[in-house]
Amino acid sequence: MRISSVLLASVCALLPWNGVLSAAALPKIDFPSDSPVDLLAADYSGSNETVRGGALLLDFHAALSLRNSSQRKIRGITLLVSAQDVTPGGKGSVTITSLDVGPQDTFPVRIDLRLLRPLQASANVPVQIGLDGVLFDDLSFYGPDKLSSRRTMTLAEWEARRDRRYFKSVLASGGPERLRQEMLESLTHEADRPSLDVQVVRGGRATNFEPEKQVKFAFLRMPDSPVEPVDGMARIAGNEARAPRLEVLNRSDRAIRYLEVAWILQDRAGREFLAGSVPAELNLAPGQKSRIFEDATLKFPQLRAQPMAIEGMTGFVSSVEYADGTLWIPTRGDLESPELQRVVAPSDEEQRLAQIYRKRGLKALIAELNKF
């Protein structure tokens, strides 16, 4: 595959008390020649590089203009963002879902990045931007898929269709007033969910000395889920949850190759948070059981200036991928349990629709729903 690199001219803003972005700091953007998206323009204004302490801080902003050069509609795109010389193991990605980009249409992508590296910077370009995947309307996919973006975007597309169907049915049966009420509920739920600052530390090293206790998972079961969580536990110490272990059963009649279990933490004050997810790639035959565990630790620094003490955990299956590539996601009915409502975020599409309602009103929302 011939790789052609595209380096476009940039417009760098001159900020009075910061350094200008040097030509050497421009990113390298690589899209393969058969890529279904073309890079039309890139604007890096606002980017700059400054010395902070003993390090070099690159503050990078890119407004990219991409065009769909394929014959199909694009529903999702994931760009891979890396800084090989700075964080060789660390990468970033920018994913946009719920897109509706027809052939030859253009759309914008924003990337805002910061790199902190030692003063003796290498001469190489610090930032590389590549394409990890593009998802089309017919669920076909293009790209190297190094970040599992195919699965992520396909899941998002399934959720989007589920939720659009739902809102359209609300509109059809209850009229605009009912739709508006649903939107209001969605917005208030969104505002309600506590946000959490979290660290994931690889290697599962303990960083506090609080007494550790084994805590068993409780499970929220969904009747139509193909995977049943059987057993699970993690070691809890203060505000850390270490090495969660789960046992799951495939109770469907198809082989499963991936699943994700999300877990909800309860703290001592009785508050609940969606803490994280345990993904597992595995080969699970029908009727088979399997164990999955992670060698990692979740740390919760603080929540509203109060240290968090974890008291209990609840898990539920949030997605399943069968061996043939089809997916299972919870239905809206499944997600309507009060405990999940409090904690689980709305899908990408629901959030997008709620923002359309909030910013442009009900008519705009109805027009958007009627587009699909």
Partner: protein, 189 residues
């Protein structure tokens, strides 16, 4: 794709009402925000109070007698909201009269302010900041909103004489500020 079918009469009426509401908001938003901002001088507070004022007005639509008076009626609600806010939070007594004696020294200036002074806007903002809250409120209501002095007195819940005092002092202070600035050649071209 399922078709919704023809909209029912209640749907159409509902959407039409929403449209009217949206128009009312978009036609008046900037003006009302500026009015409130000039009184409370803080963007975050002005945002909250603007929201509050519109919600109050739209909830009380049935109290609006004549449609052509809608803009003024909204302005009244907005300035009331702002003044109430100042009363509750700033412990401002709107009915005490300030003296015309100004501080002997100029308030000290930060480097940012020095840079901003080259902008026309900031220069005038500084002028307004020389006024007390009640002087500024009275001046804004009288000279910018164009409310007659009686109505300004009503809004601020003071006597007409007090309000005239505020207005006179405010106008004088603004004039003095401009003269002083011109003398020290701070006014931009």
């Amino acid at each position: 794709m399922t078709d919704r079918g023809a909209p029912s009469p209640s749907d159409t009426a509902y959407l039409a009402a929403q449209e009217l509401q949206n128009r009312f908001i978009s036609d008046n938003l900037r003006r009302i925000f500026l009015l409130i901002y000039r009184i409370v001088r803080n963007v975050d507070d002005a945002q909250d109070l603007t929201q509050e004022a519109f919600i109050k007005a739209l909830q009380r639509q049935d109290q609006l007698k004549e449609l052509d008076k809608a803009a003024h009626w909204l302005s009244r609600i907005a300035s009331n909201t702002a003044i109430d806010f100042l009363r509750r939070n700033g412990k401002v007594n709107f009915c005490e009269i300030d003296t015309l004696i100004e501080p002997l020294s100029e308030p000290s200036e930060t480097p940012e302010q020095a840079v901003l002074r080259s902008e026309h806007r900031a220069y005038l903002e500084e002028g307004l900041s020389v006024l007390t809250e009640r002087e500024r409120t009275a001046l804004l209501l009288r000279d910018v909103e164009g409310l007659p002095a009686e109505l300004v007195a009503q809004q601020m819940n003071c006597s007409k004489a007090t309000v005239r005092s505020h207005i006179a002092n405010a106008r004088i202070k603004m004039k003095r500020y401009m003269e002083r600035s011109r003398r020290t050649q701070r006014k931009p071209l």
